[in-house]
């Protein structure tokens, strides 16, 4: 993407009908470290890579609990993500104060998308530079949504965002048909393998990744490091080899282009059209 005379203002259209500031915001998401989400009928798992800038600092917090039944993983400008998480928490608290019931995930995601859209149509604002994977459970089941800086959102069976997410997406596309009936532990295992795909050879250990789970009878919570390390060891995911033969339900069919909403943009088409 190159600089041009139509990209200064978010409220300036290009002659090709694109809003470059919004597209640049989506670039910021692609630069962030990877975040992955996948769901079964009853559980949703979020996983992300935690890279500290240097050995002395702590790593960025990328997974936030929004309510007992909703959590979010972010990629991109984490400060924007923190602010949006605070908004989401506030919305959940207000909804359950009024209705004494948990906020349905689909509603929250729409409110978030509308909030993002406002920033694409005001000259004194800028789009949020963060992509959100919203994982939640409500009466209609387990859900995983991706919220884009453009104000678009989609529901996914599995998705990955951030840098080197294509490697994870390829793995998820191969396996996603088995997720619907996967057990909770298998879902976490798939998430760990997908994370490993984004690491490109680096050893997978619990100090560089964070896993969070929400499911039927299980409130949203982040797994502690020991549990994650045990699961990594148990599934022997450390090396770059194929997952062990104990992997149930390995689909013989190709995932390929049937991945929900995962089609890559053709050259020149605005990404928001997907």
């Amino acid at each position: 993407m190159f600089r041009n005379q139509y990209d200064t203002d978010v409220t300036t259209w290009s002659p090709a009908g694109r809003l470059f500031q919004v597209e640049y915001a989506m670039e910021a998401v692609k630069q962030g470290s990877a975040a992955i989400g996948l769901r079964s009928r009853s559980h949703v798992v979020l996983a992300c890579v935690n890279k500290a800038n240097n050995e002395l600092s702590s790593h960025q917090k990328k997974i936030f609990k929004v309510d007992d039944h909703i959590g979010v993983a972010i990629a991109g400008l984490t400060a924007d993500g923190r602010v949006l998480s605070r908004y989401m928490r506030s919305e959940c608290i207000n909804y359950s104060f009024t209705y004494e019931a948990p906020l349905p995930v689909g509603r929250l995601v729409v409110q978030l998308a509308d909030k993002a859209q406002v920033c694409t149509q005001r000259s004194w604002k800028r789009p949020y530079g963060v992509g959100l994977l919203v994982a939640g459970l409500d009466e209609s089941g387990a859900h995983l949504y991706y919220n884009c800086p453009s104000g678009n959102y989609f529901e996914y069976q599995a998705f990955a965002i951030g840098s080197r997410s294509q490697a994870a997406k390829t793995y998820l596309e191969r396996k996603f048909e088995t997720f619907v009936d996967s057990s909770r532990d298998d879902l976490v295992k798939h998430a760990l393998i997908a994370i490993r795909e984004t690491l490109q050879g680096e050893t997978l250990k619990s100090s560089i990744c964070t896993i969070a789970v929400v499911g039927v009878g299980e409130a949203f919570h982040i797994l502690d490091q020991e549990t994650v390390q045990q699961m990594i060891n148990a599934f022997e995911i450390v090396a770059e080899d194929e997952p062990p033969a104990a992997d149930p339900g390995t689909s013989a069919g190709e995932g390929g282009a049937t991945a929900e909403g995962g089609a890559p943009a053709e050259e020149g088409a605005a990404p928001m059209e997907i």
Partner: protein, 223 residues
């Protein structure tokens, strides 16, 4: 020259009594379960006790609609606190929050007479007693509600040692054991039920200690 008075009041008193006693490593909270209006009983099965945090339990007597709204408000604030601090609120923190929340409505108060109790950061029992607009004090024991005038003098007699005439008042965290405190509370309510028409039906006792929270019930006179 007589002032015109409103023919409608936003408040009502649903009656009932609340008591709390702080021990060295436990806390006992008790309230009756009768909800009334005027001379009528609305229900014999309404809890006046609400857990706000792991170590903070609120018992409130007065206008239950205001109390419900107050409890919901505090619960929402507690959620925000947990999101921001990654831990539960301590009892003294809840005490200050409750005081601020009550004073916020200084000119249209919550008609709620509260006793907040729990374990402080050192694990010792603590009881905070309030008026309707948030004035509060940490004490060793307290009673609020319609039976408080009957209960409080008896608690003073049993728990305030040595003599109530001596100054300064000594720290009244009771030397009683947990089971002795529970027995005292049951006795106190049995007596209050005899003379206070708004107290009765059933007694709910909640005990907080290092092992967690536990609840007991005892039948009271229903007349």
């Amino acid at each position: 020259m007589t002032k015109e008075h409103a023919n409608w009041s936003p408040y009502d008193n649903n009656g009932g009594s609340c008591v709390a006693i702080a021990g060295a490593d436990y806390c006992v909270v008790a309230a009756d379960t009768r909800m009334s209006t005027g001379y009528n009983v609305l229900t014999r099965d309404y809890s006046k006790i609400c857990k706000l945090a792991d170590k903070a339990v609120l018992a409130s007597s007065g206008f239950q609609a205001d109390i419900k709204a107050l409890q919901k408000h505090l619960a929402a604030r507690h959620l925000i606190y947990q999101h921001q601090h990654n831990k539960q609120m301590s009892c003294p923190a809840v005490a200050q929050l409750l005081s601020n929340t009550l004073y916020y409505k200084r000119f249209f108060p919550y008609y709620a007479f509260n006793v907040l109790s729990g374990l402080d950061s050192e694990g010792k029992g603590c009881v905070f007693t309030y008026d309707a607009v948030g004035s509060y004090e940490r004490v060793g024991y307290s009673a609020q509600g319609s039976g408080s005038t009957l209960i409080m003098p008896f608690l003073d007699n049993q728990l305030k040692s040595p003599s109530p005439l001596l100054l300064p008042a000594q720290d009244a965290v009771t030397p009683l054991s947990e089971s002795e405190a529970i027995d005292l509370v049951k006795t106190v309510f049995a007596s209050a039920t005899e003379r206070d028409i708004y107290t009765g039906d059933r007694l709910e006792v909640v005990v907080l200690n290092a092992d967690g929270i536990r609840r007991e019930y005892m039948e009271l006179r229903k007349d």
